[in-house]
């Protein structure tokens, strides 16, 4: 019996091989792509989920009411963590962490390591399993350090017998000796905390000088709450604590006209679950947790699956019409509903099973290219969890049931006589049409998303940032030499080269360099009885000249003036904030009047931060006591690559030990929207695939529709219709569906894209052209797909189509 079912199913699939093939190709590619997308999304969502204590560990952030509105930040002062632990009830551990670079020396080998300075309880909060060494409290000694497996390999060349060995670390200007107390597994790729070496917090060079300072904030704090304590309770418990320790800041906020929050507070500590950290942005002032990216990817995967399933259902229903006579025959022979149903379902199941297997194979083949294209570190392990496999199995079961079962149901309801006549005028076209409309609405949504995303990226890439990004190379100063000396040596070395125009340095990069690090430095002071906050940037001479910054008033730092270490150059926004008619008259007393800074120049606003942000107040300092971290080299527009090589060569002779990580600023700027680019690639590929799959479906449906209407086409031609009018008649019905899809999709697309663009301070205008282009593109594609079929049908000799009666 079963064999019989299989035999008939097989014959049917072979008989309709074009459709079977179209279905299998569509399903296979959709499943493969969905697999990869789901993998990426689940990987993103799994960030920091591996910590055993994830439910009780939080990152501490402080929200402050300022005259500029709500501001939140995770940078904390050194005394906060011990004070929290001592004064606030319900806290099991409070841990400080600070990421910094350090130089390790072992047997004359020097290695740059990514260090995490932490309090000992770090290992109680976070799950980084010890491989060898002291498993319990490995940082109990101030002079002990913990290495990751990878960095142990890098430093010692092995992970065996390292525990107890001594290495020298350069912290600040000095070198200190540490003994290795344990080796831990490398942080997994879905960890927000990434490190090579873990060092007790007290060893950080900034520790001693800031041990009692509440106004110097530069590290993160995590807490673990006691069992049963909620974040709400923590927030209540810290209110008094905050008003005590931040009294000065609160009074300043009141004085400057800040508005208290709904609890009447000016400063309030909050907790952020560590599993939310990866998705949190403080840009708007409050902590906003958005998992948009993974959910969008999941959405695209879902939508692609939906499109192929819709194809599958549509083709099945259309094809089953051809089988009406067969069904009628079977019914007269005594087949019952259940048997008919099973027959149809089996056919669907066969197609799906084959596609699933092929999809898995294809997905695996595409894994590596996919990972590099979308720059994800996800692995298939993230998908092959029992829960997900179960959901997947169940969905296949359901889809096949619908795809196979629906036509079966329609037919089994049909009277035997009508089935024999081969006519089925049911509402089935409504289902088919709604599915096609949905498919194309999705396609239009994805196309307009693609267009707007690329529009925004192009906009950001082409925007005038206020500095010269094409001709300037920035080089992270990752060597051991003093930074000012390095810049001086670079000047020396490249002096004779006519293509090197200017050289300068600063303590921060523009855009994202190849070192991958980013930081911001803020400071605040009182000016004429008002609090003023500014970004601070330490620069070397010629900074403005090197970057082509426009000086709108006064001058920039100059070697001709001896006292420039007490001079300030500010940007226009800062000048506006200071509110003086003549910004050059501003004098700022600092450290209770011990020193006074004076503003000597104003530069035109330039985008020194991400382009997603407004230009904030900025103050440039010239102070040889503060290190530089980046050198800037401006080169002539000619012979760019040979100039770049010359810079690299000069670097090699100055810092032979350190890797050259120089890059042009336009690359750096591009790197800051890597995420957008990844998103654009995913959405673009998603929409291309979506469109392709929709077209396969549309093509198949148009084939079937044309077949159904052969006789009508013939009759129309005999009574005088021209080829074009018949083709139009057939195509029109489909284009109407695309039109409805356009009307449905556009408002939705507009809404979401507008929401998304709000994330950017500088954004492309959401012109209707984006949507019209998307609609036209979808129409054109649908037209070509259907048109090839319909024109052919319309040009056929009517005598032939009428004879087939």
């Amino acid at each position: 019996m079963l064999k019989n079912y299989f035999k008939i199913a097989w014959r049917n699939l072979i008989k309709n091989k074009v459709f079977t093939l179209a279905n299998i190709i569509g399903l296979t590619s959709a499943l493969a792509v969905a697999l990869l997308l789901v993998m990426t999304a689940l990987f993103e969502l799994s960030y920091d989920q591996f910590h055993k204590n994830k439910d009780s560990v939080y990152q501490v952030y402080l929200s402050s009411q300022t005259p500029r509105g709500l501001e939140s930040g995770t940078s904390q002062p050194v005394p906060l963590a011990p004070a929290l632990k001592a004064d606030v009830p319900g806290i099991k551990h409070a841990v400080r962490t600070l990421s910094d670079d350090t130089f390790a020396t072992y047997n004359d080998k020097e290695i740059n390591l990514d260090a995490e300075f932490v309090d000992p309880a770090f290992f109680d909060l976070f799950t980084f399993p010890v491989i060898t060494g002291k498993a319990k409290n490995p940082l109990s000694e101030k002079s002990s350090v913990v290495l990751s497996e990878k960095s142990a390999q890098k430093v010692f060349g092995t992970v065996e017998n390292i525990v107890g060995k001594t290495i020298a670390l350069k912290l600040g200007k000095e070198e200190q000796l540490f003994s290795v107390s344990a080796i831990v597994q490398d942080p997994p790729s879905n960890s927000s905390n990434d490190f090579d070496i873990i060092i007790p917090f007290e060893n950080h060079p900034e520790y001693a000088s800031n041990i009692d300072r509440w106004d110097s904030q530069f590290h993160l704090v995590y807490v673990q709450l006691e069992e049963g304590v909620t974040p709400d309770q923590f927030e209540k418990n810290t209110q008094e604590f905050t008003s005590l320790h931040y009294q000065g800041s609160i009074e300043n906020a009141k004085r400057d006209g800040a508005v208290a929050n709904e609890d009447g507070l000016f400063m309030q500590f909050h907790l952020l679950p560590i599993t939310d950290m990866h998705f949190t942005s403080f840009a708007s002032g409050a902590a906003v947790v958005k998992r948009t990216f993974p959910y969008m990817i999941l959405g695209i995967a879902f939508v692609i699956i939906f499109i192929v399933c819709a194809n599958f259902i549509n083709m099945n229903i259309a094809l089953s019409e051809k089988r009406l006579k067969e069904i009628g025959m079977r019914k007269t022979l005594g087949a019952v509903k259940k048997q008919l149903f099973f027959q149809f379902w089996l056919e669907s199941l066969l197609v799906f099973t084959a596609s699933t297997i092929l999809g898995l194979v294809l997905g695996n083949l595409l894994l590596e290219p996919f990972k590099s294209l979308f720059n994800t570190r996800a692995t298939l392990e993230h998908v092959t969890q029992p829960k997900i496999l179960l959901i997947f199995g169940l969905s296949i079961f359901c889809i096949t049931l619908i795809a196979g079962g629906y036509p079966a149901l329609l037919m089994s309801r049909l009277g035997t006589l009508r089935a024999l006549k081969g006519k089925m005028d049911l509402g089935k076209n409504r289902l088919r049409n709604s599915l096609i409309v949905l498919q194309f609405a999705i396609a239009i949504l994805l196309i307009s998303g693609t267009l707007v995303l690329h529009g925004q990226i192009e906009f950001m890439r082409n925007k005038d940032l206020g500095y010269n990004k094409e001709q300037v190379i920035s080089i992270p100063l990752n060597g051991k030499k003093d930074s000012y000396q390095v810049v001086a040596l670079l000047r020396d070395e490249l002096k004779g080269n006519p293509n090197i125009l200017n050289i300068s340095g600063a303590d921060n990069n523009l855009g994202m360099g190849r070192d991958g690090s980013s930081m911001s430095s803020m400071m605040g002071f009182d000016y004429k009885g008002r609090g003023v906050v500014t970004n601070a940037l330490t620069v070397d001479y010629d900074y403005a000249k090197t970057l082509d910054l426009e000086v709108v008033a006064g001058r920039t730092f100059s070697r001709d003036f001896a006292a420039d270490s007490l001079s300030l150059v500010i940007n226009e926004t800062m000048a506006k904030q200071l509110g003086e008619e003549d910004p050059l008259s501003v004098r700022i007393p600092i450290d209770d009047g011990a020193t006074t800074y004076s503003v000597i120049g104003v530069v035109k606003d330039f985008n020194f931060q991400d382009i997603s942000r407004q230009v904030n107040p900025l103050t440039l300092f010239l102070n040889n006591d503060w290190d530089l971290y980046y050198a800037y080299v401006k080169i002539a527009p000619q012979n760019i690559s040979s100039s770049f090589d010359a810079v690299e060569k000069a670097w090699g002779s100055i810092e032979p030990q350190a890797e050259f990580l120089g890059s042009f600023l336009d690359e750096n700027v591009d790197r800051t929207f890597r995420r957008e680019k990844t998103m654009a690639t995913i959405v673009t590929s998603g929409s291309i695939l979506g469109i392709l799959l929709s077209c396969i479906g549309l093509f198949a449906i148009s084939m079937l529709v044309v077949a159904q209407r052969t006789k009508e086409i013939g009759v129309r031609k005999v009574i005088g219709a021209s080829v074009s009018s018949v083709a139009l008649l057939l195509t029109k019905d489909f284009l109407k569906l695309v039109g409805i899809a356009f009307i449905l999709a556009t408002p939705i697309a507009w809404y979401f894209l507008n929401e998304w663009l709000q994330n950017y301070a500088f954004r492309v205008t959401l012109s209707p052209l984006f949507f019209i282009a998307a609609g036209l593109l979808a129409t054109l594609i649908a037209f070509i797909t259907v048109g090839t079929r319909t024109v052919k049908a319309a040009s056929a000799n009517p005598v032939k189509s009428l004879r087939t009666e």
Partner: protein, 220 residues
Amino acid sequence: MLLQLNNIFKWVQSGGQRIFLLKDINLEVQEGEFISIMGPSGSGKSTLLNVIGMLDAFDEGEYHFLEDSVHDLKEKHRSNLYKEYIGFVFQQYHLLDDLTVQENLEMPLIYKKFKGSERKAMVADMLDRFNIVGKKDLFPSQLSGGQQQLVGIARALISNPKLILADEPTGNLNSKQGEEIMDLFKQLNDEGVTIIQVTHSEKNAEYGSRIINLLDGRMI
């Protein structure tokens, strides 16, 4: 003279062999004639009718229709010629299922680019003439075979063709209905319409003024 066929051949290629569907057909039709084509099944009657109706091409020979040489015409001109002068009636009626009687009648006029008001008048006229005003809003499936054929003929006549081609118009009807259709043809013929019909029935053939016999694609 309405049309003239000279040495028409039509064949299909099958396995390297020519199978002739029409062989050396010579035929002259005057305006106002009523011709019946007869012959056994498979003798090429429908093929000949389709060739005359310009629905099908032929491989050799000349075909003159009024002043035009059909064998030299481009597809477009041929279909214009056809649209203007010829109406077809089928054994299976071939009405459009999704359209009402009225809409079925209107369709050829739309294709021939008549204005809306003109169309209305012509359709109303036709409904009147065939006594099917009461049925104008029904769909073909709601009509009897004879009524459907009536609509089919009305549709063929609506744009005043000079020539009606009918392929076994009474084949699916009972003898009473068939007789009515034949009477209608006679009447139309008397009004000046040229008619060429294919038929198996001697009795129906008698309505015509001339009978052409076909055998294996050849006129005898």
